[in-house]
Structures are given as C-alpha cells and as structure tokens.
Symmetry: C2
Subunit: 432 residues, 2 copies
C-alpha cells in the first residue's frame, strides 16, 4: 500500500469541500487504488475561523511555502487562487522539491503556466488543473485522454457561472444588469473582487486560454484573448433577442483561422435550439467540434466547492495511478506561438440595435447603407416602444455573415446620421 | 520507440473508418506517444468487396481467430459484433494468448463480459470498450477516471441513435412510426436485422447494462433490464405530449433503489427544458447524477464509423500509455449481484391516453377512480378530435408521482368500463 501525503494551501469553498470529500472517501479510495490519501498539512490566511472540519486533525502551516519545502509531502494542492504571488511561489517550490501539484488556479495557469509546466516536465511530475476549468466538468481529461488524437476544429462554451446566472436572471425576471448583480452579490455568488473578473469576461478568458492550449497547442498566453464582458448588456436587447429566437450568453470560443489563434470571450446571441442556449443559471458547458466526433457537448456544475473538489480528487486519482504525467496531453516542446487573429477579420452574423427618430424614410435610409456596403440583412424588427414621437425607437437588424471590418464601416456611417440618437448596440450571433 | 501491432476483426463502418483514422494519424500518434500504431492483419467475412482502403497493405486472415493466436499481434480489435459466437472466441483467444483487446461489442459485454474481464484481469491485460457505448462520447472513461470516486445516484440517457432519429422525425414531420422506419432503412440508418435490436430497446439496454455496471458495480447481467421499445408509440401521443410541454424519447436509466438494481429502457415523456429533450435525430446523450457534481451531461454522435473509430483510437492510446489496466474502474471482485427492483414498485409520474365515448359524465367518472385510489392528477386534457360523436375521443391525464402497481389497478378498472373503447396508453414521465 502506497500513501499519498497531501498539503492543502487555501481553505475556501473548494479547499474545505476537498477535506470533507477526502475524509469521506478515504476508504473507498484506498479500496479502489491501494493508495491511502493522507492530508498531512493545511494552510490558509486566517487560522481561527469557523470551519466545517476540525483543523487540529492536520498540521497547520502559517506559511504554505513550508509545505512545498517539506519532504513529508508528496502532493501540494494550491487553492489560494492568486494570479501570481504566493500561489506561484507555492507551486514553483513544490515542483523544485519534487512534489506533484494540483491546482484550481486558472488565472495563474493562463498567465504563467508555461514555465511551471516546463518545470513539472523537467522533474517528471504532475501539474494537474482539472479544477481550473469548468468546476466539476471533466473537460481537461476529456480533451487530453479521449479526443486529443482527433483534429479539433473549434471549442466553445459557457465558462463562467456568475455571468450566466446574471444573464439568465435578467431574461427570466426582466431585470436590469445592475439589479441582478446586486442579487448575485447578496447570494454570495460573487464578491466585489471576483465580480470584476467574472463580469469583465476575464475569468472565462482565463479558462479559454487553457482550453485553447490543450486543443491547439497554442502557447499559454493570456494576451491572445479578445475579451468583452456583459456589463453593457441591456434588458431590451435580451428581450429583442428572445423575440428573434435567441438567448444572450457569454460565449468563449477558440479556433485556429489561417494559422492564427482566435480566442474570443464575448456576449453573443445563441439560437434557442443550440444546446448552449439551454445552459442556464450557474451551469457551465463546453462544445468541442472535431473532425471525427462532430460535436461533443459537456454540461455541468461549473463552480462551487463540491464539484470543484471532485475534480481535484480525480487529479489525485491520476497521480496515484500513473508514473508518467502528460500534463498537457502532448509534449511541452510542441507548444506554438500563434499570432493573434485580427478581430476585424472575423466573419460572423450580427445583431444591431439602432436607436433612431421615428420618422418616415429612416428605415430605408439605414437599409440603403447596408446594401451600399453589400451587407446582407437577414431580419429587420421595428417596434415602436411608445407613443412619444420625440423619443427614438429601436430598429433591430440581424445580418448574414459579414466581415467585422466591413460592418464597422457601416456602423460608423449610420452613427453619424443625424436621426440616429445613440451608439449602436452590436452583438455577434453564435453559429451552430 | 514501441510498436503496437494491431489486428482488426470486422471491417464494417467502424472497422473501415478505424483503418483510415489510424493511417491518417499514425505520425501524429507516434509523435504524441512514442508508440507506432501498426495495423498488421485484418479479417472480415468477405474479402473481395469495394472498400475505402487497400486491403493488400495488410495481411488478410479468413479466420480472425488466427490473429488472436498469432504472436505477431499485441492488440486485437473486435468489431464483428456478434453477441457470442465468433466475437467471443476471438476475444477469449486473444486474452488467453496475452493480447490486449479493444471491442465495440455492447451485446457481448452486456451478456458475457464478466468472464472476459476476469480473464483480462488474470493476465493484466486491457479489455477496452469505449466504442461499445454511445459511439464517440467518452462516457466510459469519464465514469472510470473522473467521477468514479464520487457517489453516483443515477445515470440516464438516450443511448440509441436509430430510435431517437425515428422519434424526432415522427414529431417533426408528423409521420407514423412505420413511415419513419421505412425512411430510416432507406437511409441506411438501420437494417432489418439491426432494427429489431434498436426499436425493441435491446441495443440501448445492452449499453445501459454496461453503464450500470460501471456506476454501481452491478454484475453484468442483461436479465436485470426492463425493456420496452418504441414500436407502439403513436404520433397522437407525440402530439399530445408536445401540447403538454414534453417530447417522447427512448430513455435508459439505471439506479439503485433499496439496495436493488433498477435498469429501465422505455419511451418516456421528457420535459422540454430537460437537456435530454433537445437531443434530437441520431444524437446520443448521457446524464450522470452524482453527489458532488449534481448533473454531468454529455452529448454527441452516438454511432457512425468515424465517431466510434475515434473511441477505439482513444482506447489504443490508453493501451500504449499504461501498464496497469483498470478495465472496470474498480477491482473485478467488487462486482455485486444485485436483485432486480420490481417494476411494480417504481414510483413515477405518468401520462395516460384513454379513448372514451364522447358523452356526459365520462370524464368525472374516470377522475373519480383516480381520487378513489388516491392518485393525484396533475393535468387533464380533453380534446374532441372530430365532430363524429360515435368515435371515441382521447382523454389525456398526467399524474403526480404514484407507485406503478397502484396505477395499474386503476387502469384495469377504467379499461373495464363500457365507455372506454381501447387499451389505455401509458407512458412514464422522466423527472428532471
């Protein structure tokens, strides 16, 4: 019987759930693997705090780096979540001291993963991060072990639970962004600090960076991302989208176009019959498009203590079973520095909301610009919202596929017209 | 560099796609794994037949058993698909001759898997079967490697593409079962021989048997299944279900109730907002309910050459990487013989269609029986279908949760009433 001596740095939701899970499943794990999971040490910022487990069962470390240096430990689990700082130090020290590492830290992997994977590779160690992307959904392993021999064309998904909750709630209860954000904070779904990363799209982009690396061997480079958050999404647009058969979702997607990397996180209109459209509330989902499988769709709990702890446990299982560790699913020297695909070259269909004066000739004048620029309009929706003729009315236009650059030109023209009263709202439509 | 010498028995859709896939990805695989995939021999019933690869590149075996006995081979891939017979012989011989086996044969694993897994275990060999369940969806590995440390409460899904195609087509085009079956055969989705297994629910039940074993360590025992096919599904019921917010799907589900095993494959009403409801055409999907993950939902191509070949390839990858083979995800001596849970004890909500004379008092007389038996009715739908008073009209009733046994009693009573003109149609409703 082997023993896996574990140190846990960070005792938030995930860390606490992990301790419970490990203790509850100890015998089961032993029975299954002949390996005994043994939590030796724990560390967190504050020692004296109400917790759902007895901290005196474990050695307490005020400084988690001491665990990384201590020969007693076989695996260090980093759940602090700083983008660099102490999180990076713990991991680097652990690897240099020949310890396996499990982490749920997406920001760190997305920004500084490469040097850490190189270190892990150098010492033949595991640096596992199933918990870093989409909580309990085993997407990392699915890509690494099951479809990595297939050619992946695109990966797309809903990777942030908080923003998905906000958009769902806005639609369901007809509330504004600010109103729902307040509820989300009250419910503890997101804190002031986290909400910036969530709402700004950065958290999803961190995860997308990791997925994009696994799928396309693109070097871990957070700067490769185009990121647009959801704070400008208006309830009007959610309602117009609904009328047109779409839901607005924060979609992250990565693909290679003309040998360049395209990593996008932005709010998009998703057709109601697309599986991603029915991923509501805090759920996450990922669709992987490959040559052989066409679409493989995974949906589940994207966050929360227990689901994420379950991913950590599955990483511990792998560490207990293997002697070689293929942390990326391919050799690290295969990582490529892709150029970033220009967002202006993206071809997509779009939704536009134009706020214009309610007077004769406005609509035809606008549509003329589209035909002048040779942009094919799919649908037009003109709904007088009120009887007050002085107030601008919304004109909703959806386009067929068009190069972003071309559309930007038309938008500039139309925005300069005197009967157009506001900045045009532009959202991409997610194709199936 | 290691070499994996492969023999393929069976050159249908999957076998042919596999050969193409292996040849196309040879260098990629080598690069990734340092293992060279080498197809040495092939075997099929008919040698001279138009194929999408050149058979002269490989040694031809009229008798696939010769490959199983030949020391040249490291892995035998069985894709013939007989429930026992030659398929069993090939696998048994291969294992006895210390060769790894990969198979896509669900009927064989469901019926005779145990003795073969024991043999594989005895010789520390791989007996891999990702291709046996849900084509390209990596559900076997997901359960084995990612969520096997979690407690699984229930697994349910759509496991047969042909029946799902038929039900989708019936609903979309308002066609009868027979009409769509004809189309499915013409399109080559199913043959006369296969369609019996598909439509009868047996193919899905084979797959469920395997999933149920992985989830609950229940001994591979096909007799543990309750199976009801889709040939009695009427377009009327599909349309009434739609009016009530449901789609009819062939659902396979397994769970443990009161320490007994419940494996069910039957057509059920699935609420439109359940992810399973939007799994249309030939797609498959699986929902795994666990304590930690709540619901993990996987959807993808459930059949076809390329997706299934991709699963075979991922099994070859595992064989090339590992030295220990955990074929079931747990030790084989943990398999348990569960008693079969009685279907009469099942508690579920139901849909009933009662064809009754269109005269006063009929409805109240029927609903009185429900209240006499203390069965709580959720919804009643009475839609006169025609103006011909002599023809019976459908009365649709949905119930809240009720024990099947109790409902059967009421059904017997109601069917004996003189104004009830046909056998009552009864379908279970899939809860979320």
């Amino acid at each position: 019987m082997k023993q896996l001596n574990i140190g846990i740095a960070g005792l938030g939701n995930v860390g606490s759930a992990l301790i419970q899970t490990v203790e509850e499943n100890k015998n089961y794990f032993l029975n299954k693997t002949d390996v005994s999971l043994n939590i030796v040490g724990i560390s967190a910022k504050t020692k004296n705090k109400k917790r759902n487990f007895n901290i005196s069962n474990y050695a307490w470390y005020d400084d988690p780096r001491e665990m990384s240096k201590n020969d007693q430990f076989d695996v260090i689990i980093e759940l602090i979540g700083e983008e660099k700082g102490i999180s990076y130090e713990i991991i680097e020290l652990a690897l240099r001291n020949k310890k396996h590492v499990v982490t749920g830290n997406k920001a760190l992997i997305a920004n500084h993963g490469k040097e850490l994977f190189e270190l892990a590779n150098q010492y033949s160690l595991a640096l596992s991060y199933e918990a870093a992307v989409a909580g309990g959904i085993p997407v990392i392993k699915t890509i690494k072990n099951s479809i990595n021999l297939d050619k992946i064309n695109r990966i797309s998904g809903i990777l942030n639970g908080t923003t998905n909750y906000i958009l769902t709630k806005m639609q369901e209860d007809n509330l504004s962004f600010d109103e729902v954000l307040k509820i989300a904070k009250e419910k503890g779904f997101t804190s002031d600090q986290e909400s910036k990363l969530d709402i700004g799209g950065y958290d999803a982009a961190h995860k997308l960076t990791i997925l994009s690396t696994l799928c396309f061997k693109s070097n871990l480079n957070f700067n490769n991302n185009y990121i647009e958050g959801i704070s400008n999404i208006k309830i009007e647009d959610i309602n117009f989208a609904k009328k047109l058969g779409y839901k607005i979702k924060l979609i992250s997607e990565a693909c290679i176009i003309e040998n360049k990397i395209s990593n996008f996180t932005s709010p998009k209109l998703v057709q109601i019959d697309n599986p991603l459209a029915s991923v509501d509330n805090a759920l996450n989902a990922i669709n992987i498009e490959t040559v052989h499988l066409q679409n493989l769709f995974l949906e589940g709990e994207g966050a929360g203590g227990k689901p994420t702890a379950s991913s950590v446990l599955s990483d511990l299982y792998d560490i207990s079973q293997n002697e070689k560790f293929d942390n990326l699913g391919f050799k690290i020297d295969k990582l490529q520095n892709y150029e970033k695909y220009s967002s202006e070259n993206i071809i997509n269909s779009y939704y536009l909301r134009i706020m214009a004066e309610d007077k004769p000739g406005v609509l035809s004048s606008i549509t003329n610009y589209f035909s002048d620029f040779n942009i094919s309009v799919k649908k037009i929706l003109q709904l007088p919202e009120n009887s007050d003729v002085d107030k601008p009315i919304p004109i909703i236009i959806t386009t067929h596929n068009v190069k972003k650059e071309k559309l930007s030109n038309v938008i500039n023209k139309i925005e300069s017209l005197d009967f157009v009263k506001e900045k045009i709202i532009l959202l991409a439509i997610h194709d199936n």
